[in-house]
């Protein structure tokens, strides 16, 4: 209600405010609880609140920057229905997004930008996803790396895992991620994925056990996990993965600062850190003037390449990946995805948590579906049923119990 608070005299009319939020929420199909404190909400829900606030003002011009990055498929449909209705009523809508399907499905005209310059202006009716993608990368999109035949071996085993708080908790989750396979977690944001990832990373307390190679990991010790070969690509790369003011060299060593390969006694082996940074920059095509550049000056995609490159640099046994391509350009996203597949081919056990179903389906050997903190379905690659997974993500599995489909 910020900016247009309903009043009763000088007082804030809380009842009216709540009623209006509820009405808007119904009208636009974006579910929010009026009494939640925004700070405590997952980013997806917080964004719904933001959207509702802007929609309520019936603006003349509406600019949406990556509006669907963290929304569920049904929410995305509802959002675009709303936006279209607004456009019909005369609102000019500008959508900034990296999701090409949305661009093609919902816009009238398209402007493609690359490296800060406009490189193409297209009429939506006369173009397609491929043409836009080519304009974006300035050539052909790189193919995803090929999936090789692997012989999966036991790696990570999660048994009866419970962690996190109330509606965002993960509850009684059991699954395995074997070396040489990618297990994808499909689900709408806010269904326990954060708690699952944080428990595996060792940064929150949990019930149940997490074991790597048959050895149960003690809780709350990220350092020991790193030493055992567990690497993570966290949700929020700017806050959880990188020290923004630091150079690529200094960031390259983070997490492995105590590893013998990166130190000489009590001092940092700066030469080794520099070599590592160079290897990451070259191997992952990080666009940067130098390895001494501060990571805060890199684009989101290049920051993410540094994070992924670092995670893969020390032959991990298990890799936890959370929204690896969120908010980065298609070229960088394709590279990151290819590197995940290559890691899998090389025998790494990969757990991929993503809110983009396409990404999960494209990369995973097995898909587990999470809803309200529980695993409600498991699908092997050969038996993946997109519609079925979509409905499980929306809560259809609650009555029937977990669904297991194998090839």
């Amino acid at each position: 209600m910020l900016g247009r608070e309903p009043r009763r005299g000088a007082e804030l009319d809380r009842a009216a405010a709540r009623a209006e939020v509820e009405k808007l929420s119904r009208e636009y199909g974006l579910a929010v609880d009026p009494d939640d404190v925004v700070e405590t909400l997952p980013v997806g829900i917080a964004q719904r609140v933001e959207l509702l606030r802007e929609l309520a003002r019936e603006p003349a011009v509406l600019i949406l920057d990556e509006p669907t990055a963290v929304l569920a498929p049904a929410e995305i449909d509802a959002l675009f229905a709303t936006v279209r209705a607004l456009a019909l009523r005369g609102t000019a809508v500008l959508i900034i997004t990296h999701k090409l399907q949305e661009v093609v499905a919902h816009t009238s005209r398209i402007t493609v930008m690359r490296a800060g310059k406009v490189v193409a202006r297209l009429e939506t009716a006369q173009t397609n996803v491929d043409a836009i993608a080519r304009a974006m990368v300035g050539g052909e999109l790189p193919e995803l790396a090929a999936r090789m035949e692997t012989t999966p071996h036991p790696a990570l085993a999660v048994r009866g895992l419970g962690a996190g708080e109330s509606s965002l908790a993960v509850r009684d989750a059991s699954f395995e991620v074997r070396g040489g396979e990618i297990v994808g977690v499909a689900g709408v944001e806010g269904n326990g994925q954060s708690a699952l990832a944080d428990a595996i990373a060792g940064v929150i307390s949990y019930r149940g056990t997490i074991a790597l190679g048959g050895i149960t990991l003690p809780a709350g010790e990220p350092a020991r996990r790193i030493a055992r070969g567990i690497r993570t690509i966290p949700q929020d790369r700017r806050r959880e993965a990188l020290v923004l003011p630091w150079s690529i060299v200094e960031n390259a060593a983070l997490g492995d600062q105590r590893s013998p390969s990166l130190r000489r006694g009590a001092t940092v082996d700066r030469k080794a850190a520099r070599e590592l940074a160079k290897r990451i920059v070259e191997g992952f095509d990080v666009r940067t003037p130098s390895v001494d550049t501060s990571v805060s000056e890199l684009s989101g995609g290049n920051q993410q390449k540094v994070v992924v490159g670092r995670a893969l640099a020390h032959d991990p046994k298990f890799l936890l990946v959370y929204q690896p391509t969120r908010g980065i350009d298609v070229g960088a996203a394709a590279l990151v995805q290819s590197r995940l597949i290559e890691a899998r081919n090389a025998g790494v056990a990969v757990l991929l948590i993503s809110f983009e179903l396409d990404e999960v389906l494209a990369l995973s050997d097995r898909v587990i579906v999470m809803y309200r903190g529980a695993i409600v379905g498991t699908f092997e690659r050969g038996s993946i049923d997109r519609a079925r997974i979509g409905s499980l993500m929306a809560g259809a599995g609650l009555q029937t119990g977990p669904v297991v489909e194998s090839a």
Binding site: P222, I226, A227, Q257, R258, V268
Partner: protein, 337 residues
């Protein structure tokens, strides 16, 4: 450091305005200030004494700050360090080769204990170190006063102080007939060591990571609670060592008013020096000039020496506020990603 010069210039303008308000001639005031601080060998050595006394707590503040901890308790840690050195020193009559190292270590240990209290509160219970260290300053002053007047009262001591240390425990002077001692060399060496720790060691790397990006540091296996504890203890040790050098090198006894607020001025010094130990040496010298020239300024130009305290206070407020705003902006920027 360029920014430090601008800040210095700004403060000079404010100081000039304050002198005008106090009914004095600013040009005469500055002339007297610099004459008092740099006008001769005796003045310069006294300025270096002040520089030394500022450098220890300033390095302490910077060290904690690099680890993300706002230690505003350097004053209390310095007092406790001085107390430890004074109380033990008054009872220890042996060769200086033995007693001086003991007293310096005792001072550092006293400061470390005082700093660790806030460190433990932060590490174990997530307590805010700003409030804890602020309170501990007051407790330190009262505790010191109580101990030297009461239970640890030295026979023959007048007022709230210990008896004089035996000559053998006095720090050797660098120049005859001055109060300038080897403490200056210890402080300078400490600055260089800290710079090396920050730049080269794994410990320094982890400390800076914890300060610059705590969430990333935690996920990189760095124990934030342990880091906070160690950083506060070492920070306290540096301030306490400073207190011990004042006792063994300048006053030759502990006195409850051994510090005119070095631990607070240190906050401004550390921030002017960009938290870089080597720049902090220069910043300490600049503030040392203010400290040592103030009395001359009062005597010759009739500018109240409180103008110096006023300017220093302003520097603390302005720089600390700036730091907080910058911190908030950074957090907001991260939240918006």
């Amino acid at each position: 450091m360029i920014r430090g010069l601008w800040i210095g210039l700004g403060l000079a303008v404010v100081a000039a305005a304050a002198m005008l308000l106090a009914g004095a001639n600013p040009l005469l005031g500055f002339w007297a200030l610099f004459r008092g601080a740099l006008g001769g060998e005796r003045q310069i050595s006294e300025t270096l004494v002040q520089t030394t006394s500022l450098l220890f707590p300033s390095l302490a503040v910077a060290f904690a700050f690099r680890a993300g901890l706002f230690n505003i308790g350097a004053e209390g840690q310095l007092v406790i360090g001085g107390l430890a050195a004074g109380v033990i020193g008054a009872r220890l009559d042996t060769s200086g080769l033995i007693s001086i190292p003991i007293l310096l270590v005792a001072g550092a240990a006293g400061g470390a204990v005082w700093g660790s209290i806030a460190g433990i509160l932060r590490a174990r219970f997530g307590g805010n170190e700003v409030i804890a260290t602020l309170m501990l300053n007051i407790i330190a002053a009262l505790l010191a006063n109580y101990l030297v007047v009461g239970p640890l009262h030295s026979p023959g001591a007048a007022g709230a102080e210990t008896a004089e240390l035996p000559h053998s425990s006095w720090l050797p002077t660098l120049l005859p007939d001055t109060r300038l001692t080897v403490a200056l060399l210890i402080a300078l060496a400490l600055a260089f060591v800290l710079r090396w720790v920050f730049d080269r060691t794994v410990f320094g790397y982890e400390l800076r990571a914890a300060g610059d990006a705590p969430e990333a540091a935690r996920r990189a296996g760095i124990d934030l609670a342990k880091t906070a504890f160690v950083a506060m203890a070492l920070s306290g040790a540096m301030a306490g060592l400073g207190g011990a050098t004042i006792v063994t090198g300048v006053l030759h006894r502990f006195n409850v008013s051994l510090s005119p607020g070095y631990g607070f001025i240190a906050i401004a010094v550390a921030l002017v020096g960009d938290l870089d130990p080597l720049k902090i040496i220069i910043a300490s010298f600049a503030f040392g000039i203010l400290q040592s020239g103030a009395l001359t300024m009062q005597a010759l130009a009739h500018v109240p020496k409180d103008v110096v305290s006023f300017v220093e206070g302003l520097a603390i407020v302005a720089l600390a506020a700036r730091r907080f705003v910058a911190g908030r902006k950074q957090m907001t920027a991260v939240a918006q990603e």
